[in-house]
Symmetry: C2
Subunit: 489 residues, 2 copies
């Protein structure tokens, strides 16, 4: 979709909330609020059933072109991060722990050779895809939408044939479900401590899998009810393997819910909205209009975004500025006298580590992030590796990065001045970093990210083939092809 169209859509539909003291959320402050802000909460009536009715009746042909396109981009980005994370220690452990219990070898593990039953495969692929914190983001809720949904339905598509069109429709509906349910309870639900990707994500997985299982309306109500019974994830786990556990478990628990419902395992009818249902139990805010309003007209799935840099969004403006100045001026580290940064306080609060010793710590160091961006012109996973944080050139340069908290700079912004040894001063102010809703990554940039992640994990010729299969998913007779060609040799 052209960027102009996308921006028009955003202005009309994306009510970005003004909330809470975390980097991702604060970044949303820069964006305009829109129609959603004025909407009155809908009464808590038939929310689950209305959503279920929509899910079982919505067809691929109903999807607007821009929604289809964003669904394809969501898929491609997810496959890249799932392959990229697949040999992290976290995944090795999960594979080792679960292999004694796996059922038939129904589904692939992206980037690996093992095959597991679809629930365990969905769990492991969901873990892989979130390990680097490099996956997609629905900025209004900070949900990472693809993890719970794509993990589930790619596994399912290896068990029962699913056409590419059916697949894309289910992916969009799953993302739509989790993001709408997330909207209904965000920010209160997130603020109190829930990892919303896991709590809303299980609905996304159940909805998408239920769609592909062709559940009837009542069965879909039950699937959503069983999903409501299995919220996953607390923010306290951030910084441990447990964070990646959450989208994985949301994926597998959603399949579990949908499979039981498909055999008429019952739940109650109003599990989302009833007095002692999900939204009242799990949040002090409930806006049901976010779930049932304009179904089939307003698409949260069209608002998905993708990270160009493998770190928290709070550092993205600075990395973006550094790469722009580097590339435009063909800068090398030895030219740099110092780098002055005007930043929002959150930048130092969240990413103030001056001397990171491990790659993971580098993700919490604005000093490292700027230095490596100038030296290597990128902010991918390789730039936050143990190798990168120990590189002498980068270590020397990070000591020259001087961030200053500056009134008037919001978290989406940065003002960077690189002072060179020849006394020149190069300035760049960023209003919206690449990867934000206002400045989406291009298809080409998504491909570069994908290739960088998959490099050395799946065979080189497969990288192009998998990307082409994702771009052309709507023409595939069976979406399982994508999973089957995404394994290591």
């Amino acid at each position: 979709m052209p960027i102009t169209d996308r921006r028009t859509l955003l202005r009309s539909a994306a009510a970005l909330p003004l909330v809470t003291a975390t980097a991702n959320m604060a970044l949303a402050q820069g964006s305009e609020t829109a129609s959603g802000a004025a909407a009155k909460p809908a009464p808590a009536k038939d929310v689950t059933r209305t959503l279920a009715h929509y899910l079982v009746t919505a067809n691929y042909d109903d999807l607007p072109a821009n929604v289809r396109k964003e669904g394809v981009r969501t898929l491609l980005n997810w496959v890249g991060v799932a392959i990229g994370g697949s040999h992290h220690q976290t995944v090795d452990i999960a594979v080792s722990a679960l292999s004694p219990f796996s059922g038939p070898a129904q589904a692939s593990l992206f980037g690996r050779r093992e095959r597991f039953d679809i629930m365990n495969a969905a769990f492991i692929n969901g873990v892989s895809s979130h390990i680097f914190d490099y996956d997609d983001t629905h900025l209004k809720t900070i949900i990472h939408p693809a993890g719970p949904v794509a993990s589930a339905i790619l596994a399912l598509s290896e068990m029962q044939p699913v056409s590419g069109k059916e697949f894309l429709n289910a992916l969009v509906l799953g993302v739509e479900t989790e993001c709408r349910i997330g909207n209904a309870v965000y920010p209160n639900h997130y603020d109190v401590g829930w990892h919303i990707t896991g709590t809303a994500g299980v609905f996304g997985s159940a909805a998408a899998v239920g769609k592909l299982l062709k559940l009837n309306e009542q069965q879909m109500v039950w699937a959503l009810g069983l999903a409501a019974s299995q919220p996953v994830g607390l923010r306290e786990s951030f910084g441990s393997m447990n964070k990646s556990f959450n989208p994985g478990r949301a994926a597998s628990s959603g399949i579990f819910a949908a499979m039981l419902a498909s055999k008429n395992f019952t739940s109650s009818d109003g599990m989302i909205e009833a007095k002692r249902g999900w939204a009242n139990t799990i949040s002090t805010k409930q806006d049901y209009n976010e779930i049932t309003g304009d179904l089939g007209k307003r698409y949260e799935a069209a608002l998905n975004t993708y990270k160009p840099f493998a770190c928290g969004i709070v550092m993205h403006p600075a990395i973006d500025a550094a790469i722009q100045l580097r590339n435009e001026n063909k800068l090398t580290a030895d030219q740099v006298e110092r780098v002055e940064l005007k930043v929002h306080p959150l930048v130092l609060e969240l990413t103030g580590k001056k001397t990171p010793r491990e790659g993971l710590e580098g993700k919490f160091s604005i000093y490292h992030a700027v230095a490596v961006a100038i030296v290597e012109g990128a902010g991918g996973e390789k730039q936050f590796s143990d190798r990168a944080v120990a590189d002498p050139t980068i270590v020397a340069l990070r000591g020259k990065v001087i961030p200053t908290i500056t009134p008037g700079i919001d978290p989406a912004q940065v003002d960077m001045t690189i002072v060179l040894k020849d006394s020149r001063a190069l300035n760049r102010r960023i209003e919206h970093a690449i990867g934000s809703v206002e400045m989406p990554m291009t298809d080409k940039q998504l491909e570069t990210k994908f290739a960088d992640l998959a490099d050395g994990i799946i065979p080189a010729p497969s990288i192009r083939r998998v990307m082409d299969a994702c771009w052309n998913v709507e023409t595939l007779p069976n979406a399982a092809e994508i999973a089957k060609m995404s394994v290591s040799s």
Copy 2:
């Protein structure tokens, strides 16, 4: 344990809460409160680690005799209800839905012939054991403790040898863990809508399985953290199959957590007590002293109770009175002119159905419950069957049951007068019904309940053998024997 000892224990340790308008909880009003009421909340420091340390160091030899005895009774009661529920439609559906995904045939399904991997087996057995709402109850929290724990470790014991003593120790520790964590957040957590059996139960399963996997302290911290990430169940699902889903899923998710932790899949260190951890996220009340106070001295596991009647506790006093008067007077239905009942308002609010048409509806009919108790002298699952509610003699008699809301009658009490056609009036006032903490079921009564549940499901000779194996669990070389002999022929 002699009843007198048990009562002494209860007086010193069981602080029964005065809370909320549900039958089970209101019934607790009749009991005295004790030391717990005066305790100040402990600071939120090292709660998860303190609990983990206790779990990994606690030995069978540390268990007081009364705790061991109650653990054995918990086991026997659980096996009975798991066998009894095993052919309910809910279980048939779960077996059908999950069989395509099961791993190796590692563990038995109680009362059935199929074998599943331990996680799926634990889920299904957990469902079976809760179907009739006839399982054990920790009255202070309304947790049904055995479902999540026994389901998990009986399955595990079929995969790796577990001595009977190790097994009983793990069962007690699992029950202790879930009930203590439940105490810390009850009643607020339950009142807002959580099905506490599923939310606290996953900790019980993870702790017990982790104990048998011989996790070290750090691994146990992670297992509890991964358990905290998977709360199961909302009260809104009550009345559907989803209610039984909850203890089953707690069992399997607890195994999932412990197995990952055993391979060093990490979580954060303070997942129960941290600012954005479980207790703060899931409850507005947190009393950490309930979790870490007097570990190894105060045993919640000693306070478990067992239902003599297969229905909500609110009707138990009336059923108890009816059976006593029937047996003492050798009553038959044709002698009865009318049955006058003085009851608490909750009895009619919760069980006021006058003309139940199905067995399940009979569980919500004080009219049926009293009538069937007089006719059949029992209140087991057979007395709440479709057959029973359609029996002409019982239907006729239920029309003669006259409950009257009476000030001064609390929910644990009933005052029943059976007026006979010969004008005699038989009166019985119940202060604490059989099965309450004050009037525990005897071992003999537990055996009668077990035999009634298992009748026709497992071979007749197995019934005695399984009960003996449960009573003698501490002498078994391998606790798996119990599961292996509890299957249908």
